[in-house]
Symmetry: C2
Subunit: 218 residues, 2 copies
Amino acid sequence: MIKQKNEDIAYEKIKRAMMLKRLVAGQRVTEEWVGNELKMSRTPIRAAFNRLENEGLMELVPHRGAFVCNPSDKELEDVFNLRIVLESYAAELAVHQMTEENFQEMDQLLEEERKAYEKKDYEEFLRINAQIHAYPARVAQNKFLLQEVEKLNQWSDCYLILRDNFYSTPMNQALSIPEHQGVVTALKKRDIAAAKKAIEAHMLSTLNDLSERTSIFN
Amino acid sequence: MIKQKNEDIAYEKIKRAMMLKRLVAGQRVTEEWVGNELKMSRTPIRAAFNRLENEGLMELVPHRGAFVCNPSDKELEDVFNLRIVLESYAAELAVHQMTEENFQEMDQLLEEERKAYEKKDYEEFLRINAQIHAYPARVAQNKFLLQEVEKLNQWSDCYLILRDNFYSTPMNQALSIPEHQGVVTALKKRDIAAAKKAIEAHMLSTLNDLSERTSIFN
DNA sequence: TTTTAATAAATTGTATACAATCTTAATATA
DNA sequence: TATATTAAGATTGTATACAATTTATTAAAA
């Protein structure tokens, strides 16, 4: 059992606070305040802030404080479009490398996703969702690609939640299960065109759902 | 004039030391040692190390030290292939947004690149090279895409230099000038297929040159 | 009243001291 | 000699004190 560093714990807890909306978009937080909340000194908090800034989840303003990111519609669109490009590329690389074992693992992830949905365990659902999206990049074994796919996925989760748009209702999760299934089916057929189409459709479906929810009448 | 933070200065200087091969691939460096060299305390050095690790230029091993990255052939290939994907996508987004002014700016960058080559100012050459590669992503105004394109470009530079493969001789720089020209020409014609082809060809030409130089007989 | 200047407060940026952890070397034991 | 144990050293990880910088407040002047 390796002991986790405080700066890692701080990073995780701040991100989780965003996911649970205990920190809201645009909110100002200071190193001292978070340090008191987490009962740590400012040193590890500072390291965590830097990491979060680098990942686009916080904005650091010198001598003023740190701010939880407040993503615009444009930024969300940009991220989703980039995810389409990267995950499609990952699928292209992976499609001829996937073994029977890989397909079994993907099926199991889909199964676990379904269970998490039924249990209404949204944090678990998001965790598995991230694994599914990153799976082709993992098979492709391009670590730079994998890192970026995982990072953008995390961005998406935080952004959507901070904007109150997603996973607040379980409806959207229900939809994504068959869409994930569709991607896996295409990969099994080694049909890269179909896989890309399914990835793009799934990503846009998520994004569109978002646009609807953004309406003030929802 | 905004005063730069020590952690930013440290970050820049460490990266520059890599570019000038004062730090070599795999070399071990400690926070204390770098702090003494740069006449700073460990605090800003530590922040710089974290940033460099996040960008893949260093590897941090708890309680053992930090190591300058030692990229493998596979990693270099992976990065260049990813750059093809991202810069092609950027070109696709930018191709119909580029104005006459944009084209003039690109031409000017090409001109400056030529001058830097003639002056044998390699640091300047690399700086302009980075601007040229990032230009379409900048026009596309997807800040996530731009950030990633710039980051991968920097990786490439450091990796190539750490492996003694590039820009040690001016030959490779001479080659890339007409290749850059080719990309710009295609963009001017709004010919996205040609632009993508030119981008891919340029990237692979750089990578191939690398493979040749990797031979122990060179 | 509005603008300007000076001062105080808040916050980050940095240095330093100390604690925890890992590595290495020395020592003891089989 | 080989292996296990222990201790010492080196290095990062964390807390804290202080410096530098920015913002907010107050007071003064126009």
